[in-house]
């Protein structure tokens, strides 16, 4: 059979082909249309740029959440320390102290540490990181019991300030 004759075979077998086509075929379910549409829909309607943007947003949110959790953990480590300093009355005291109410004193110790140049701004101006570390000490005296209670609260502030260049 030559190639130009091949598609003309319908005429020769037309009667048989008509008879074959009269037999109804089993049909696919309507669910198949939905499955095919869903299989191709995600690539047709969602541009790949959006997929990349969604992935970038997910990474950003994850990194932000991690930084937030780490910051919260660091803050929780700055626990207030309560130290019981002394619990015995001084020898020779008579116990007839006139002061009856507890007395509290607050003292703050602080210092500044410079980390140096840590980066540059968009316009090239350098920025310096400065840490201000303080400890707030609260001292409570109870004359009636003769006890002293010391509470230390450490605190740190971090500043990033631009450095003026000449």
């Amino acid at each position: 059979m030559r190639p130009h004759e091949q598609d003309n075979s319908d005429a020769e077998f037309a009667e048989v082909e008509v008879m074959l086509r009269q037999v109804p075929l089993r049909r696919a379910s309507a669910a198949l249309d939905g499955r095919i549409a869903a299989a191709c829909h995600r690539w047709r309607t969602v541009p790949r740029l959006w997929l990349v943007a969604a992935a970038a947003a997910l990474v950003t949110v994850t990194a932000g959440a991690w930084a937030l959790l780490e910051h919260a953990a660091k803050r929780s480590s700055n626990k207030t320390q309560i130290t019981r300093v002394e619990n015995s009355p001084k020898p020779g005291s008579t116990g007839t102290t006139a002061v009856s109410k507890p007395v509290s004193m607050v003292r703050t110790y602080g210092g500044i540490a410079r980390d140096g140049i840590v980066g540059r701004l968009a316009d090239g101006q350098p920025v310096e990181r400065i840490r201000r570390q303080t400890v707030r000490q609260i001292l409570i005296l109870d004359p009636q019991r003769g006890t002293r209670l010391s509470i230390s609260v450490p605190h740190e502030d971090v500043f990033v300030v631009p450095v003026r260049t000449f």
């Binding site: 082909e17 074959l20 037999v23 075929l25 696919a28 095919i36 299989a39 995600r42 690539w43």
Partner: protein, 182 residues
């Protein structure tokens, strides 16, 4: 059927300039029944046939159509491969279900089957089922999927002359049985 060519919609997805994807929606809309029938002929199970069509289309999404001479034949070939994969998978799992015919006439539920003589319908079904598998596949692709011989040759990865010869032999055989029936 027309010459079998499909107008390609040139798409330029972001990030892949110059890539043209297959117009699968158009091909599926035009050849839905033929694709399902081919898959059912191979798998003999409607659910597996639908799975095969779905798997093939899921794999074809995003495929670059450049270099594909005939998208319709390409899709049919992909569905055929997916159906063969389904059969292999079923054999591995040892599933043994009753085979289902590609024809709905056995159900007697369609108006077509009621209109057509039940005896003749049964004869056509039996005659096609009696064909050798390679001839039966060519008849289904030609008569029910309405592909050209060139497309069938591409789907089956066979020479054009082989496909045409198979079709001629199968229809001669069917015609001989028809004459006996009449």
């Amino acid at each position: 059927m027309d010459d079998g060519t499909v107008r390609q919609r040139r798409r330029r997805p972001p990030g892949k300039a110059g890539v043209a994807e297959l117009d699968l929606a158009n091909i599926y809309a035009r050849h839905r029944q033929g694709l399902f029938t081919l898959a059912l002929l191979i798998t003999r199970r409607p659910d597996r046939a639908e799975d095969a069509v779905h798997d093939a289309f899921a794999r074809l999404c995003g495929v670059d159509s450049r270099g594909i001479a005939d998208p319709v034949a390409y899709v049919f070939a992909a569905v055929r491969r997916a159906a063969i994969d389904q059969v292999r998978r079923a054999k591995r799992t040892g599933a043994d279900e009753a085979a289902v015919s590609i024809f709905a006439a056995g159900d007697g539920a369609t108006p077509e089957s009621s209109a057509m003589g039940a005896e003749r319908t049964q004869w056509v079904m039996a005659a096609i089922e009696a064909l050798p598998p390679d001839q039966r596949e060519v008849v289904v692709l030609r008569v029910y999927a309405e592909l050209t011989f060139a497309q069938i040759a591409e789907v089956l990865a066979q020479p054009l002359a082989t496909v045409a010869a198979r079709y001629r032999r199968s229809l001669e055989r069917l015609r001989g049985q028809l004459e006996k029936l009449v």
